[in-house]
Each structure stands twice: as C-alpha cells, then as structure tokens.
Amino acid sequence: MVTAASGSFELDDVSVTYGNETAVAGVTMSIEPASVTALIGPSGCGKSTLLRCLNRMNDELGNVKVGGRILFDGVDIYDRSVDPVELRVRVGQVFQKPNPFPMSIFDNVAYGPRTHGVRRKAELDALVEESLKRAALWEEVKNSLKKHAFELSGGQQQRLCIARALATSPEVLLMDEPASALDPISTQQIEDTIAELKSSVTIVIVTHNMQQAARISDRTAFMLRESMDFPAQLVEVGDTRVMFTNPADKRTEAYITGRFG
C-alpha cells in the first residue's frame, strides 16, 4: 500500500482559461500528503475546474488553457514530458454522479489494472478484493462480484467508483461532490470511507456541503467568483478548524455562516 510520503501538490498562481474567458485566476496553495483538503464555495466558483487541473482532465474539454505551475511531488504536471494518461493513474478521480461502467462489479474494479497490464487472475482477484475493502463495499458485494454494476444502489455504485479509482493504487483521489447525489446514509458511508482512506491517499474533495467539509477535511480552501466580469479566486485556505471558527476573511465568514451562497 502507498504510504504517507507522496501525493502532495503545490499550486503556484494557477489560472484556467476557457477560450478567451478566464474562469479561475491566481490560485496559490499547497495540498499536503495523506490528508483531506476540501474545496468549498458557491456554485460556479471554479472548484471543479480547479480540481480537474490536478489530473489534467481539463485537457479533454479542449480549448482550455492552464496557467501558472502545478507541482505534483515536485514535478510540473503541465511539463511536456508528463503524459496525462500516466498522471491519471496516480491521481484518480470520483465524479459527482456515480458512473459505473455497464459491466460486472468485478470488471468495473479490474478495469484500470487491466488497462495497465495486470492479466493474472490471482493478482486481479487480490486487487479487486483489496480495492473493494478500502472502499468499504467488500462485505456487501463479495458474493456477487459477477453481478452487473447497475444492480447496485446509488450509494453502492459510488463506493464502487471509489474502489475502481483505488484499484490503480493512486497517490491522490480527487472527489467532485461525491455524495451530492446520494441519500444521508450513503453520504455517511462515503464520509467514513474517506476517513479510512486518508491515511494512505491524499484526498481533494469539492463539496457544496459545509458541514461535510467541516466533518471530514483537515484543510479547507474557500473559492469565490464575486462577479462574472472577473475570474474566480481563492479567498482563503487553511486549517479546517481555524477556517470554520475564526476565518481571516470577512467573505469566508459570511459564506460559512450561511449569509450567502
């Protein structure tokens, strides 16, 4: 298992431009290994956009330019020598809506490892079991691995997607509002899973839910786009307890006390 040493990000003056509109600008922050960092802020403040920079999924949208520098364990991930496909093996992502592939539970989890050349049945079996255990889904599905993934409930599907992302042994897991489409019990299970995982994986989670950010994260970054005429910015980043009890910026305080957003 990967341990706490790797999986850190350093963002230096990061900006994101769609076509000729700059959506996010001037983000400088660090993401520490083996911790949970929450990105909060109102809708449209660029949280997901910033998240997608970290595994270069913005590349797939076309017409997107990322400025500044993003160092992943000291390596500039936008350097020409970095292959985004390889980066994504190390920086996994879980999406807002559960998106299992139309295949069996086993094949879903084995999808990533198979792409990267794991063929031996015993090795795959072990990987699938370990990943499902880490995603806290193993007990519920261990006797039905051959069943179609669409037979699972929404919460189970989302944990399957977490297991699927873990199967490539990433150092970082990006989560884009992973519980926003789920019921409270499933949300609880996802949060428990995140708490379990953070000792071995760096987690960056975008959330609309401030209680969730307060419950699960070690550090919180608050982003805000004050006007459509200007790009979104990072207002404040820091220790979650400090952010929620004694924020440095008035806007952060207004947001977390529910005065807007």
Binding site: N55, M57, E60, G62, V85, E86, L87, R88, V89, G92, Q93, F95, K97, N99, P100, F101, P102, M103, Y111, G112, T115, H116, C161, R164, A165, T168
Partner: protein
C-alpha cells in the same frame, strides 16, 4: 366564493376555428394511419399478383429452384440464382462498408473536433443524396474495367463490382446510425475511463463500443436492408447471369435487378409476370424482417441509456 356559477369567460374562439382545429387533428391522424394502410396495401397487392405463380409453380419450388430461365420453351423459375446473387452482393457490400463505416463513426463521434464533426456529417448527408445511377455509371467507367484487368476475369460485371458500389451506398446509413449510437453513450462513462488513465482509443474500445454495440449492429442491419433492396447499381454492374453463383467474382443476378430488368418485357398477367411478383414478395419479406430486427435492437439500445 358564494356565487355558485363559475363566471364563464367569452373566449372569442369562433366555431369555425374550433372546426378547423378538429379537421387538422384528423388530417394528421389520417396521415399516420395512411402509412400503415399503404404498407398493408403493398403486401396485399404483391400477394394477389403472386397468387398465380404460387398456384402454377409453387412458392417452395420457386425459392429452392436453381435455374432462372423464364423465357425458354420449358420455363424454369428458380429464385436461388437471384437470392444467392443478392447475398453475394450484400456480403461484399458489408465487407466494404462495415469497417469503413464504423471507423468513420468512431472518428466523428469520439475524435473529431466540433467543426470537423459538422462538416463530416453534412458531407455524409450529401453522399446519401448521390443518385444510385451516378454510382452505377462510375462503377461502369472505373470499377468494372479495373476489376476485369486486375482479377483477370472475362468480364468485370460481377457481384464484386456491384457489392463495392452498393457498399458505398450503404455507408451513410451505417455511419450516421452508428454515430448516433455512440453519441448516446453517456459522457460520464468516457470521463470515468479517461480518469482511470486510459487513452481515448482504449476508452472507445473498452467502454464506448461495447455500450453502443447493439446500435452499431442495428446500423449494419439497416445497411444490409439497403444493400439487398438496391436496384439500379446491381442492374448496371452485376451482369445478370442466370446461374447460382459460388463466388462473388462472377456475373450474378439479384432479386431487385431481375424484377426491374424483366418487368417491362413480360406479358401482363402472365405466368412470368406473376413470378416476378412472387420474387418481389420474397424480397419485401426479407427487407421487412431485417428492418424490423434493426428497429427492435435500436429501441432497446435507446431505452438502455435513458436514465
């Protein structure tokens, strides 16, 4: 409200407008029903005209007969040369159009930029609009002589030549229906696969194609339907010989080619005339079944991704 009667508002909608509304509604309903009625009428019409052939020659002996000599003293009306000829042409057409068509659909759906996609789609629509006789002419001028020389045959008028051109005709159907099927695969499956460190091509191969497979199958079936029913190109290029072909490199006749080529020269109401109707009935049944299967498969595919 104490007043019991609900105050009626004068809508100012005169009687003739209401009448017009109902006339329009009925006209639309009638048009819908008309399609079904026409389909039924075609079947009945073909069946009635084929009755004499079925009585005189027998449906089974026509379908299994191996000789097509309708004008000899002892006429024989075997459909097998035409059925097998149609199948050869269709087979060649599929070998040409399926790989090219599916590859084009993958490119348009998964790799092309938005602009290229638009251009490609309209070009494909143009392709569908090329009259088949034009393709037939091109085949006669270019394909038939080249095949004769390259394959060292006595004649280039073969199932192979016709099949290639019919394949070109089936391409737009195969491309646009497969592309629709791939387009219908939810985008989040693609992002999910990419985020796991798969390349675009791996994603297409492992997620998009399997998920769209039934739609692609339906596209191919519709292409087959198109190929089997195609008349002009085969009439011009296939050579129209009367034997059961065992290779695509010989002259063949097809069902549509036979009907179109001979109908003008038969005695109306005669035996040969009726036999051609029986052949049309067989052809119609084949294309109907193929289209039906394709439709059912397509509908299932659409339901699968409606979530």
């Amino acid at each position: 409200m104490t007043d019991a009667s609900f105050p009626r508002r004068r809508t100012g909608r005169p009687a003739f407008r209401r009448a017009a509304e109902s006339v329009v509604t009925r006209a639309i309903a009638f048009s819908g029903i008309a399609a079904i009625v026409i389909l039924a009428a075609i079947t009945v019409f073909l069946g009635m005209n084929a009755l004499r052939a079925v009585g005189d020659v027998g449906l089974w002996s026509m379908i299994t007969g191996t000789d097509w000599f309708p004008t000899s003293k002892e006429p024989s009306y075997g459909f097998l040369p035409a059925i097998v000829g149609s199948l050869w042409v269709t087979a060649v057409a599929l070998v040409v159009s399926v790989p090219v068509g599916v590859a084009a659909a993958i490119y348009i759906s998964e790799f092309a930029s938005r602009r290229t996609k638009e251009v490609a789609k309209s070009v494909i629509e143009f392709m569908a609009a090329v009259p088949s006789v034009v393709l037939g002419l091109m085949g006669l001028a270019v394909l038939v002589p080249s095949i004769r020389v390259l394959m060292r045959l006595d004649t280039g008028l073969t199932a192979f030549a016709a099949g290639i051109m019919v394949g070109v005709m089936a391409l737009p159907t195969i491309i646009s229906i497969s592309e629709d099927a791939m387009h219908a695969v939810p985008a989040d499956l693609r992002t999910g696969s990419l985020a796991l460190g798969n390349t675009r091509w791996q994603t297409v191969h492992k997620v998009v194609l399997p998920a769209a497979s039934s739609g692609v199958f339906a596209a191919v079936m519709l292409g087959v339907g198109r190929a089997i029913g195609e008349t002009m190109v085969v009439l011009m290029l296939a050579g129209n010989s009367g034997i059961v072909p065992n290779t695509p490199l010989v002259s063949v006749r097809t069902m549509p080619g036979t009907i179109a080529g001979e109908m003008a020269e038969v005695v109306q109401g005669g035996e040969h005339y009726s036999v051609l109707f029986a052949m049309a009935l067989v052809l119609f049944a084949m294309t109907f079944i193929i289209n039906l299967v394709a439709d059912v498969v397509l509908e299932n595919q659409r339901k699968r991704w409606r979530r």
